[in-house]
Amino acid sequence: MDLLIKNGRLIDPGQKIDDTLDILVQNGLIKEIGKGLAAPAGAETVDASGTYVVPGLIDMHVHLRDPGLEYKEDIVSGTKAAVAGGFTSICCMPNTKPVIDNKTVASYIINKAKAEGSCNVFPVGSITYGLSGDRMSEMGELKESGCVAVSDDGKPVNNSELMMRALQYAAGIGIMVISHAEEIELVGEGVMNEGFTSTELGLKGIPRVAEDIATSRETLLAEYTGAPIHIAHVSTKGSVRIIREAKGRGVRVTCETAPHYFTLTDDAVRGYNTNAKMNPPLREADDVASIKEGLKDGTIDAIATDHAPHHLDEKDVEFNVAMNGIIGLETSLSLSLGLVEEGVLTLNQLIEKMSSNPSNILGLNRGSLKVGAVADITLIDPKFEWIVEADKLSSKSKNSPWLGQKLKGGAAATIVGGKLVYKR
């Protein structure tokens, strides 16, 4: 079925377009962009008035939990959540059971996503076998099997020599290394940010310097080896400063942050709220301000969700026992649109950070509305208000700190490969 998307405000940072234009989609590709396009016979017309028509959003940091932990999420529910949140492509992290450290698991994910999923799924393989942190996985085979990056996300590669060799090796193959930057000795048994709130609640803190030291190590290793690196879920003022300085020296470093790091502080933990428990933990007001500055000045390249579904039984427990992580696919766009409303980002910059930049960092060849490109398109309605309700979320898990809260804006429609897969 061909599609004609009419009367939307088309924004494509890559082509420097921001204008009211129509798009014609044929055979899953973008066929034509222009004013007043006529619908060919048999084409379905989508009225996009009042919406932004943008390159399909890309979330480069998602935990799909499939295979092995399907009670939390699976490829079907996770990709449904993705398209409801406006994402046309997601990258899934390798901490599944078994780990994505071989061709079989990578192929299983890609095939299942193609057969039963709602959007594109690009797996991320592990840096080390079984996330063991002691020997490199077969990155060449992982790349050939369709993995778009490697990461031991969830934990750092603690051994600096192994990390340095992994960066060199991966650069040779041409696959990006994504680092979970944390100095694990300093994290210890901490369960939230170390600060006044942890003091008052009597909870063991994780100092911000635990992240800063690791971010610093990663930028130094990237500088020394000349290899590129991507830093996941940046949460601290220090990390932003370190990455900004490294970029200034020409180090090949990119990074992402998540919506919770620019909207919430560790105050959200009060009441021992396990839906405000994640790793890295929510930080303080000056960190939130720095994250926003980093987004604004380009230090932070991408917004990713770190969508981390957990079953109620894993969250409805004492704070120390609760698992780390929150879901994010269905709230990310609304929260990120808030940055535009606040004047932190222009709409164009927001689309870069949620589409073209992630695509460029990982070489996905998406994130563009050029004629001939794959027709991954998101229609954003910036105005509608909605309440985050557990039973209306597509994700199997409901561990969101925004449950019951009113958010503004979101996906009006999501088109993957020319197919309308979601409509609000």
């Binding site: 008052e200 909870l203 021992y272 409805d316 004492e318 120390n320």
Partner: protein
Amino acid sequence: MAEFKHKHIIALRDLSKEDIELLISTAENMREINGRDIKKVPTLRGKTIINLFYEASTRTRTSFEIAGKRLSADTVNITTASSSTTKGETLADTALNLLAMKPDIIVMRHSVSGAHYFLADKINCSIINAGDGAHEHPSQGLLDMLTMKDRFGRLDGLKVAIVGDITHSRVARSNIQGLTKLGSKVFLAGPPTMMPPGVEKLGDVTVCTTMNEALQDADVVMMLRIQQERQGKALMPNAREYSRYFGLNPANIKLARPNAMVMHPGPINRGVEMSSSMVDCDQSWILKQVENGVAVRMAMLYHVCGGELE
């Protein structure tokens, strides 16, 4: 008489100045019962109290048990080494099972800060916190304040020095919350590795760089137990060096007001946080603290049951 409106007592942070004063004045009245030949009143007859202890305790558990019995409640003790952090039944399931037996009050000690709030959301009986992680130990805070009131007749305008591992101390947090609400000043001393960030923002709290600074003109000197078992990592070289800089002894106590009170929540590491002679000296109120513990816990049990004194 003021009314106590709380169903649970989980933290002194949650209580007002008036709530705290009411609990202390009720405890003063309860003391009369403890001095009788027959130490029992029928106030809580027919009420069932479960003492659920997920951490070892002698003093606190016994004190709560005696407090319940003196008010004629039926008390049951459950002490379990394992908490829900280890494999087995979850805390919520244990509590729901106990609740099915219709207790009126669960007195719980748990290693996880905030575990009582988690439970309070799930069950409909009253919950009293007998210590949660490094968060609060409200009955200890109240008995400490009652003991200070015995000595000074008031709880405002006192200078209270608390010395030791503040980071891991629920006793320190409850005392800070209670004392500063009632108008006293708290001075903290301890190695910087044991001083939690922002603690001075909890109330009228001053963090001192040396123990001497905290002791200077103090009305009360409260020494904390060095809880080696709580420390995942070494926060100090060893007990010997700790004692040298943060131990109370006959020389440095002279910096405090003449006849200043010496207190300790127990159990004491003699020769570490205080010299043996300080434990047993005339200025020591340590056993009076224990004695007051029973009266304070009677007051807490009484008020969460919303009863009336006969």
